[in-house]
Amino acid sequence: MKFCNIVDLFYEALPLSRSRDWLIRAHVERCPRCQARLLNRDEARSLLVAPAQLRGAADLWQKISAQAAPSVPGRETPAARGAVLWRWAAVTAMTAVMALAGFWLLRQIERPGLDGVEIAAAQRFELDYVKVGGAPAQTFVYQPQGTDTVFVWASKAP
């Protein structure tokens, strides 16, 4: 009895269905006391509606037949389903080919002016401070016209 209560506690504490299932199989299905606390098949049947209690399959057919006519659009036959799958496959393949071709074309096209956006090395050159022999130096920066080259001349300050 105590053990059943411990199992109940574990069941409530472990929300995973796998662990709960293990507890059911390992204990509940073998324990007469726990089985007595469960609804049996006959009790369940008395609460449920059984197929034998129902009639009216003919009525059901009358309602369904009007809508189940073969001419109703949307009915899938194995051939139609195959055709749909092939159509989807073809569309997907075409899209992939077009995307690849577009990508390749974009890579091939030269893009004039794009390189000009890049800033020249001379423009990016920056010198904050120059020291010669531990003391601030006299510094001259030269850039020959028409080139990207930069010369820095530093001499001891007088």
């Binding site: 796998r18 449920l48 209690q53 389903r81």
Partner: protein
């Protein structure tokens, strides 16, 4: 006409085979829908939709599996759709301060009006638990078969069934105690 012949006939769109299928499984699907939904009219609608969907997509049925289980899976999904629709309608009716009876469709009671309804006790269960209990009690399904209809693992199906059996038993015992103390 055996099941395979009926299925072949339905695939060809043969009305005789379709009728045979409805006659073979109609009351079963209706009873499952009724036990899940608790409402006869909705259960009939679900039953019709399930058969129509089955006829439309019969080409997708895997012959390795049980046809009954496949059909019940469709019916269960349609029943869940119906429950969602009902919930949305209830929410709308509450928000709009309408009386549901005034906004709902008025339907003539069908010939199955005398059909029984499942016990109110089942309202304490979730739709999954109700389905698990129905398939176990009425169809003798084991956890593995129930899991196919519910599209879950056998462990999960066993837990749903266990919870359903335990909850209803506890409610029955509570009712019994109340009656004894009166």
């Amino acid at each position: 006409m055996d099941e395979q012949e009926t299925i072949e006939g339905c695939l060809r769109g043969d009305p005789v085979s379709e009728r045979a299928m409805v006659e073979a499984y109609g009351v079963l699907v209706l009873s499952v829908a009724l036990n899940v939904l608790g409402n006869r009219q909705d259960a009939e609608d679900v039953c019709q939709e399930a058969f129509l969907q089955a006829f439309r997509h019969l080409a997708r049925y895997d012959r390795e599996r049980s046809f009954k289980t496949w059909l019940l899976t469709i019916a269960y999904r349609r029943a869940l759709d119906m429950l969602r629709k009902r919930r949305r309608f209830r929410e709308f009716a509450t928000r709009a301060r309408f009386e549901p009876a005034a906004t709902g469709e008025r339907r003539e009671p069908g010939p199955a009006a005398a059909a029984p309804l499942p016990s109110k006790l089942l309202e304490a269960l979730s739709p999954r638990e109700r389905l698990a209990l129905t398939l176990w009690a009425n169809e003798g399904y084991a956890a593995k078969d129930i899991s196919e209809v519910l599209a879950c693992s056998a462990s999960t199906a066993r837990v749903y069934l266990f919870n359903a059996r335990r909850k209803i038993k506890a409610l029955l015992e509570k009712d019994h105690e109340i009656l004894q103390h009166r």
